[in-house]
Amino acid sequence: MKLKKNIAISESGFIFDPNTGESFSINPIGAEIIGIMKLGKSTDEIQSSILDKYDVDAASFEKYYYDFLNMLKQYNLVEEDE
């Protein structure tokens, strides 16, 4: 799953979907994950990047990461990989 191409995200974690006009605020860790997603990194790469940097175990990361992805999906901000 990847972030839709035209989604704009600012450093402060403000997301704007120009297609719908919807905007969202996310917390710093969410913004960091989206920043990595925008670079086109895989789930494994995102996981290792976060695990290296923060004190979190793989199981907890996975649980919260997939919750987060589902939320992005619900708000129509991500699309399936081609």
Binding site: A8, P18, N19, T20, G21
Partner: protein
């Protein structure tokens, strides 16, 4: 570059919570900086706020309601024109457009230019004719049917599923969940705007809008899509944001090309969850939120004036996406003398 000398007349000065487009149109043209202009406001009521906005409007004349017939309107405009020498007139109400379009040759004889759709274009996009419009131009439109009396309400169940939209021919739209509510809205709307009342299928989705300008030869001079972010209880935008939706823009270009649309236009669309676009209304004039388009880089009212004056107007190539407008209300203090002047002499 030298400025174009212009005396502009405009209606729609009712800058209320259900605003007419007159004030934003005038403001846009003034701020373009392209005109050395005098603005003549044409008002129907004495309390239209624009009348008292002296920084935007130089002189105001009261004009007769369109329902009083085009002869009365022309007579009044002849008088106003003998003093003001109007170059371009922009009518801003749906309800007056028929009269102004019908009078366009009389206006032309007076030297007053307009840039309006033809009567055929006006009629074709009428809410009552929307199903045929959709069929003719292969555009998604909701199922709709005009009704003239309560007796037709019972038969609606055969064609429509509840809820339905109940709409006036010019303004007003309410949602109805049963026949009783249709009757209630029917009475309310018909008392204000007359008949027919239009029953329209309720299409679920997000309402989005486009302001556009057609040159009358099938070309789109400019178009800006918007989503209302804050809607008043009258359904009017009190805040909105420009969108970057190519589907909305191509639908707009398709409609303008197919109809050879001349003048300003507002498309009211519903975007469904599957991203299909349904045209629910085509308003044959510039909408009151047009200043957002100006802020986003497309001064469509100024372009309309130049088209009316036969200037070559290049197409706008872009606009800022994610630009917002937030409307506000503001109290002006008005001297009784001003109110008196308009009430008794019909001029200010």
């Amino acid at each position: 570059m030298s400025k174009i000398k212009l005396t502009l007349a405009a209606t729609g000065l009712n800058n209320t919570d259900n605003p007419g487009p007159g004030i934003p149109v005038i403001r846009s043209i003034r701020e373009s900086g392209e005109f050395d202009m005098r603005v003549v406001g044409l008002a129907y009521e004495t309390l239209e706020p624009g009348i008292y906005m002296h920084d935007l409007i130089d002189k105001v004349y009261q004009v007769p309601y369109p329902s009083e017939g085009s002869d009365n309107l022309i007579k009044r405009l002849e008088y106003i024109n003998s003093i003001e020498n109007i170059d371009v007139l922009i009518p801003n109400f749906d309800a007056e457009l028929y009269t102004f379009i019908k009078s366009s040759s009389a206006l032309q004889k007076m030297g007053i230019r307009t840039f309006l759709p033809t009567l055929q274009q006006l009629e074709e996009r009428n809410k009552v004719n929307l199903p045929e419009f959709g069929k003719k131009y292969d555009i998604n439109v909701p199922l709709s049917r005009p009704i003239l009396g309560h007796s037709e309400i019972l038969s609606l169940r055969d064609e429509f599923e509840f809820p339905v939209m109940v709409k006036g021919k010019f303004y007003d739209a309410y949602i109805a969940y049963n026949e009783e509510q249709i009757k209630m809205h029917f009475n309310k709307i018909s008392a204000k705007w007359g008949l027919p009342i239009i029953i329209q299928e309720f299409v679920k989705g997000t309402e989005v809008n486009v302001v556009a300008l057609g040159d009358g030869k099938g070309n789109t001079i400019g178009a800006v899509p918007m989503r209302k972010q804050y809607i008043t209880d009258k359904g009017k935008a009190w805040g909105g944001i420009t969108l970057g939706d190519e589907n909305m823009l191509s639908l707009t270009r398709k409609i303008i090309k197919a109809t050879n649309w001349k003048g300003g236009m507002e498309l009211e669309l519903i975007k469904t969850t599957k991203n299909s676009l349904y045209v629910i209304e085509i308003n044959p004039r510039i909408p009151a939120w047009v200043y957002l388009a100006v802020g986003a880089g497309q001064n469509l009212p100024a372009a309309l004036v130049k088209l009316a004056l036969d200037y070559k107007v290049p197409h706008f190539k872009q606009y800022d996406i994610g630009k917002m407008f937030v409307r506000y209300s503001y109290d002006m203090i008005v001297g009784l003398k001003e109110f008196e002047s308009l009430s008794t002499r019909g001029e200010l």
